[in-house]
Amino acid sequence: MGIAESRISQLQDRVAGLSVPASAWNAKNRAAAVERLQSMGLPAPRDEYWRFTDPKSLNAIEAPKAALFDPKETDVFDTIDRLEIVFVDGVFDATASDELSGSNMSIERLSDAEGQDTHWTADCYGALEAIGQTPVQRPFAALNTAYATDGVLIHVTGKVEKPVNITYRHANETSDAILHHVIKLEEGAELTLLENGPAAARFNKSCEVFVADRATFHHVRTQGRDHERRAVTHIFADLGTESVFKSFTLTANGALTRNECVLRLNGDDATAHVAGASVGDGDFHHDDTVFITHDAVGCESRQVFKKVLRNGATGVFQGKILVKPDAQKTDGYQISQSLLLDDDSQFLAKPELEIYADDVACSHGSTSGAIDEEALFYLCSRGVPKDQATDLLTVAFLAEAADEIESDTLSDLIVDKLEGWLERHRP
């Protein structure tokens, strides 16, 4: 079935200014992605998974301008001993970055790798994205695979002690960045990936993660600062037997953020936790779209998403758990909650369960509510000013998502950031 003419021409205009980087080993993957994208076209507001989030600004030929915002605060992971890689508006900053090397891993840039004759990512690049296009199409992920200008490729063969931290800086008001990372963890390997920063006026980022048997991948990221920035991000991961995947995202500010997470639990007894805390004030639209497929026995998945919205901010959650016929003993859990601090803000949630196995435990819940007035009065009656009491209750609400972070140190850093944001955004 072909797609409408108008979609084809819209897509041609959208990608006219983009070019597919040349590469001996990656040309095939890039070309396949171009083909996928052409067969799909760009998303339209009537598409099932775009009903709550208008793709207009992501579809626009040029990135809408996003003013730079400098809140005079240090980067969230500055106190962590880490290997830092810095991109400014999607362009690698060698001076600001650490040397790309570490024990138990190989780490290099996509653009460097593509100049080589062969590379270990030849079979990986775009592979999970391609699989992740069914049953739900993700055009921006295909666009990313086709046109990404750079990214980080990490091959992990053992336990990596120092987290890898990718910092995204935003310096140009009209920057339009596309980055694609590939991370492959061999059997029993361990890596923590940290990501932070506003990245660009418009940012399209994709990250494919291959988690082999008994490997562990921890991911903590913050998307913050600049109010007008827009981002569409995808995480695709395949999980092997007894592997662990845990991803947490803090989002503060941003005119539009769409974070998609597409996970497949392919090996028995794998664990996948995806969590997010987002806080928005005013012109803020945040969308978490998650698709978890259970395709093995005894796997556990958790989705915990919390949103605090005020002054007309919008939160979206679309979370799906698909349990294949053989995925017995699946334990699937999903909760999405919003705290609406006024009547102008809204939360749109679409939880979905599709279960074909008969011996599973899956639950989901979604709530929207206001600050608990009884609790607020109790705190105030003890002398805590109303603003501070509201913050305490708000942080308590969000902390349930931050609790999903394995490392207490990282979790504390996230809660500190949340507290700072709330203090700056009091009514």
Partner: protein
């Protein structure tokens, strides 16, 4: 210390008068008890004094050491030295008891222009006071009142009182939901805070609590007014004869 004059209060949502002119003065160093049948307005009085939403003051005044309480926000009343031990302490998931206590103590100190307590100093004091109330470190770490038994919640109220060192303490049916041992423990906690400079207003249905916390003055409240005031013997009279006789006598 606490001076209430002809206080008249209605429910904000409906036009229903709950307090119909309450007059009451609690002096520093004294313990006043208010007893009265259900629906007499005892709890309303405690809520109005502490600043809870939902009530409309239609007349009269309430002041603490000359400061007009009714003009102040709840947190300002607390900083001014007023404390209400809740009949039903509120559970606050996600907020650690210790964090809550420290935030409250320091917020009040800040409001009074005093230095905040350091973490170490605070920890020392809280451990000491928690110990006398048999509150263990686990209870201090848990979220405020979450999963606490009735007795634990009331002990936690008294711990807050001990940490905040208010001038004027209002205890709203602190004996409800307590077994005999817990009542003794809570009463000891209250008695330890009795002081020349501190006033108490103890609201209760039963004389039993007043065996432990000996009042100087007992008031009987009915239908939104203080209808009779006397010494400790008044509480005993209620215990023996119920409210019917007193109410008949003042009617």
């Amino acid at each position: 210390m606490l001076e209430i004059k002809n206080l008249q209060v209605s429910l904000a949502e409906e036009d229903k008068e709950i307090l119909k002119g309450v007059d009451l003065t609690v002096e520093a160093g004294k313990v006043h008890a208010i007893m009265g049948p259900n629906g007499s307005g005892k709890s309303t009085l405690s809520y109005v004094l502490s600043g809870k939403d939902g009530y409309e003051v239609t007349g009269g005044s309430a002041s603490l050491d000359g400061e007009d309480l009714l003009e102040l926000e709840p947190e300002e009343r607390a900083a001014a030295g007023l404390f209400l031990a809740f009949q039903y302490p509120v559970e606050i998931p996600g907020v650690g008891n210790m964090t809550f206590l420290r935030t409250a103590v320091n917020a009040q100190r800040k409001a009074r222009g005093e230095d905040e307590m350091s973490a170490a100093q605070f920890l020392k004091v809280v451990r000491e006071r928690a110990k006398t109330l048999k509150i263990d470190s686990d209870m201090l770490k848990r979220p405020v009142n979450v999963g606490f038994s009735g007795g634990e919640k009331k002990r936690n109220e008294i711990l807050q009182m001990a940490m905040l060192e208010p001038k004027m303490c209002i205890l709203d049916e602190t004996d409800s939901g307590l077994d005999v041992d817990a009542m003794k423990l809570v009463s000891e906690g209250v008695n330890a805070l009795r002081d020349e400079g501190r006033g108490f207003l103890v609201i209760t249905h039963y004389q039993r609590l007043l065996d432990h916390i000996k009042p100087d003055v007992v008031h009987i409240m009915a239908n939104g007014r203080i209808v009779k005031t006397g010494g400790p013997e008044l509480a005993l009279e209620v215990e023996q004869n119920g409210y019917a006789d007193i109410l008949a006598e003042v009617a």
